[in-house]
Symmetry: C2
């Protein structure tokens, strides 16, 4: 039996009991195809396989590399590339090999790239208020017409309310989610097709307009989503060793190359986090040299992208090693 | 000939002319052993080889993995692990195989770990004002005595003025550098040995007390160091493609998984950066769909750690592919 105390630190560790509870909680709320888990949050086909075992066999991807890895892992039954690409040839290779990959388009150019690359199915990506990708809602029908005239199958619409999912007040989140989804529903009226895809971990229970939800963070969680009062626990930590300590502070051997920092510092129970540098996290009050601590990231997605592997743990026992195999582009 | 326009984006690109100019500028200021380049800033043995060709054959590392990769690349003539470890066995393997690796120690426990792991040479790491690792200056001599009594060769001291290197005002940087280095020199009086190792890109020209400088960022640079008026240019960019655009903003396909974000957003000449999400950077004013842009990171070290490889470029021509081969732990 390997224990966490034998791991080379820093190391990503997943609390299997919390992970399984998170997956079960979500599968109960959004069974089967009502959830299209977003793999960008964990970039790990082993974890995706556990989501598939809970009933979710259609997945969302943010990159072509994620689509390729999912297909190679036998999880390519229904992949949505929920992002725009201007070169879809690698997607076409996957489709040709038997994977089902639907691609988001928001312009005539991305639509032409889909056709040229050998993509057969698309969703019309609709801007529902987040200033990022997506066609204006009143242009969605016209783009769908163009897609169909180009020989593509338009499966429906997607519209990500990314400006809403992280709002801490549930009432505000619900209200702004409705505003966003009314735009998406109006666009869908013009576009047609069976799919209305939207949402994230912050709106999975509020977004009753979409018929599939693209949540990803719920499985592992982070401290930003932890503030929203959702029924998901923190399952992912960076394990670190205290390599230096004084009467005022201690230093853990995990730093900026371990944590996505855009949402702020990681957290450690009972500690005041001072700062992170490349390979260090400094906190108080001090603890004994050699102690092993579990730091919780503020943002899960860019945290996973730093690590080659995660260790699946039952308590202090390491029961599996999961490659973070969907990294890169 | 491959050009940057054929690369899959996002992609790390290095402007070879600027890199070579940065390396030449530093080698003129701190020739040969006066610079001990820190590989944590680039994590790339191909780049380290170019630093070695400029005369710097002794290197600084932050992780054991960096030491292992440098030794495997034939660059292990004089490596300093400028960080504390409580398990030095992998360092001992390198030493046994013929690499020279000196390890920083700041406590009896890290000293014992060095002995137990088969390390033969250490530096006494002295706290010079940054609340992180390092023994208190007045305890350095005692730790050196203990090291020598344990059979270790004490090569001298190191003390990183990390609280100083980023200060934007040169006069303040110079004054606080002196304060820090006076602590290090006092400790060195008690410790002895030929090495006084300190400094970084922000203090390479100001720190006249140390006899070797651990600068790393100077080779590729970032926008944080770019504000200090140093004679080094921005050589490292993330190449991205504009995948969506409106009348108000454009979206590049590089985001939080491309950039270390602790120092803030990346920069794009002539643009107002709105925000980054996992795979997107949004900015205004808008530019044409399909345009390729070069985004400059705010912090080089955690940016490099996200990428598998960098493309060395002369203008728009790609002349080499450099693996970022020192990642992980």
């Amino acid at each position: 039996m390997t224990t966490i105390f034998e791991l080379t630190t820093p190391a990503l560790v997943i609390d299997e009991a919390v992970l399984d509870q998170n997956i079960a909680e979500m599968a109960a709320a959004l069974p089967d195809g009502r959830l299209r888990p977003h793999v960008k949050a964990h970039k790990c086909t082993s974890l995706a396989r556990r989501q598939a075992a809970a009933g979710h066999t259609a997945f969302t991807c943010a990159t072509i590399r994620e689509c390729e890895g999912m297909a190679a892992a036998g999880l390519g039954a229904d992949l949505l590339l929920a992002n725009e690409v201007l070169d879809a040839r690698r997607v076409g290779v996957l489709v040709e090999a038997g994977a089902r990959v639907t691609v988001a388009v928001d312009s005539p150019q991305t639509l032409r790239a889909a056709v040229a690359g050998g993509v057969r199915e698309v969703l019309i990506d609709v801007n529902v208020g987040l200033p990022r990708c997506g066609v204006a809602p009143d242009q969605a029908g016209r783009l769908a017409d163009l897609a169909r005239a180009s020989g593509l199958d338009v499966r429906g619409v997607m519209g990500y309310e990314g400006h809403v999912v992280g709002l801490e007040q549930a009432a505000e989140r619900a209200g702004k989610c409705q505003t966003a989804m009314e735009l998406l529903i109006a666009a869908h009226t013009d576009v047609g097709g069976p799919v209305i895809s939207a949402g994230g971990t912050g709106t999975y229970a509020l977004n009753t307009w979409a018929n599939e939800i693209q949540a990803g963070s719920y499985a592992l969680m982070d401290t930003a989503y932890g503030r929203l009062g959702l029924p998901f626990g923190q399952a992912l930590f960076v394990l670190a060793t205290l390599i230096s300590t004084t009467g005022q502070w201690s230093v853990a051997n995990a730093g900026l190359k371990c944590f996505g920092m855009d949402h702020g510092n990681p957290s450690l129970d009972g500690a005041d986090l001072w700062y992170c540098s490349d390979e260090h996290t400094v906190f108080s009050p001090p603890r004994p040299l050699g102690d092993v601590v579990r730091l919780a990231p503020a943002h899960i997605d860019p945290t996973m992208a730093y690590h080659e592997r995660a260790y699946l743990c039952r308590g202090e026992e390491v029961v599996d090693v999961w490659p973070i195999d969907l990294r890169g582009w």
